[in-house]
Symmetry: C2
Subunit: 351 residues, 2 copies
Amino acid sequence: MASTISVNSPADFHVHLRQGSLSALVTPHVKKGGFDLAYVMPNLKPPVTTTEQALAYKQTLEKIDPSVEYLMTLYLSPELTPDEIRKAKKAGVSGVKSYPRGVTTNSDGGIESYETYYPIFEAMQEVDMVLNLHGEIPSDASANTHILNAEPKFLPHLHKLHATFPRLRIVLEHATTRAAVEAVKSCGPTVACTITAHHLALTVDDWAGQSWNFCKPVAKYPDDRTALREVILEGHPRFFLGSDSAPHLPHTKSTSTPSHGCAAGIYTSPILLPLVAHLLESFGALDKLEGFVSNFGRAFYKQATSVEHSKVVLRRPTAGKALVDEKYTLGEDSVVPFWAGGELGWEIATQ
Amino acid sequence: MASTISVNSPADFHVHLRQGSLSALVTPHVKKGGFDLAYVMPNLKPPVTTTEQALAYKQTLEKIDPSVEYLMTLYLSPELTPDEIRKAKKAGVSGVKSYPRGVTTNSDGGIESYETYYPIFEAMQEVDMVLNLHGEIPSDASANTHILNAEPKFLPHLHKLHATFPRLRIVLEHATTRAAVEAVKSCGPTVACTITAHHLALTVDDWAGQSWNFCKPVAKYPDDRTALREVILEGHPRFFLGSDSAPHLPHTKSTSTPSHGCAAGIYTSPILLPLVAHLLESFGALDKLEGFVSNFGRAFYKQATSVEHSKVVLRRPTAGKALVDEKYTLGEDSVVPFWAGGELGWEIATQ
């Protein structure tokens, strides 16, 4: 069994870096977790809807940690215009994120129907900007739509968008179901899919009554988890890591009242590369690590490794075991990572 | 629209009355919630496994509130013998509760296979004692068994037990799925089914990230909830109320840590009759209230209303609305009811 692994400049193609003091705490964790590139989600308050906002946000992040490359996104909303898309592309903005209304953190301004946005998608296809889809439809009891079938029921939208805009690069974000894996596989080379670390570990049983494991989309059934693992084992180049690492202050994760539940989101940034290595090893896919966390996503996003990026080396824990920190604190803020207090089979040696 | 409803002596055919100080707090809530009869679960620590323990427990409950009739049960476990069944029957114990191992609160001593217990079931059939089934099989990722299909996957056990012991009265407890409703319907007159109040209100979306709505079995999909409502609307006499009201101290419900989740259970006893009336009215089944909360269960359990039991009368809230209490306290213990702070369309006028 190998005692070190060298990984080409890791890239996390879906991460939440928040704003204000929380951002100051969590942004440096991208690098701490072994990653050189962060594809940054735009669901701030207010959401990032213009090129100016995206560039200002990028500057803020670079001020916190200039050693990471930040790829910026806009939030798909009625304010967006084809002109703004062309402007954003010229300014280096990478993608546009679509949230169905109300399905996750800060998605109140999310979309209700895609047809309205066809002129936007047309412009995106023309300038080669990526469309990032949160692939769930809102729950609707009258149609028996709920959080466990919200993703499979979204997939016809993916197929329709792909058929209508075949050259538009689309990423189905944080896939959690066998149905989603199969749908993406059946699409052409312009459609890819991110998979989180935590969805490789959890099933519905793990978040029932355990809000620290609660995120959106929720982890599904064991067979769905198997499908995510299988497509990684297969080394499919259109499936790569997007951690969806989503920090929340501990009291919003740990405490519910009868009138208010817990925040959705799992925080993996500070342990991400060792965690992914640990999980891939658990199902025999350690040899697929570099493709999954770096090469496949970089190829799809046309983000070749730049020369200044060094390889990251993982090693077996020198202290016999690598324990996940219980929490990280800066000023009055703290965040608790996934698997807090747990044990990982790998640690970062050099980066 | 009627402004009062009179209900024949209500009977809750599945309730957890706990022990010690918590029992002193919650036992009077049976009557407060409008009920004259409590069918008492045996999952104490240690579980109630002998006639002596059941009688002692009954005495304790009668000391707390002598106005309620308590029907006692034994916990199915290897200690139980056919002789003990005959002894229990003579002493007035009503049933035996089977818990699959590890699926809910205090079920560590639950059963793993039914064949071992056939001599017990034979004796129960002979003396006409009721078998109460917690109808879930344990989760097993390798078989894609999880908390959402654990009940449908249990149903072959129900059919096999019914076929093997056709005269044994069996109750499938707290059914949550369309599959369970259909399975019970397809059985003969010796098989009945309890339905809780909260499963008429909740779906999986309601307990995701909201531990106050987390119970076992978990609330399922909207179509399953529809099936529960439909069988009540139909007035099917083998489907009746068993609240599964399960009190837990607030800190065990409201607070999770990364290493420890929240307790499973929803507490409905103190508001039970108004809550059930409210829910049945919401789907047009108010005229089925008396059958569902009294007559059907009493008929199956051969518990005719005794003359000393008065009718309970519900009325429209005299204060314009009836708010559910935020909590109930006795000494250092408190419990928070389902729908705390919420509004009910009915209140108890006289009982």
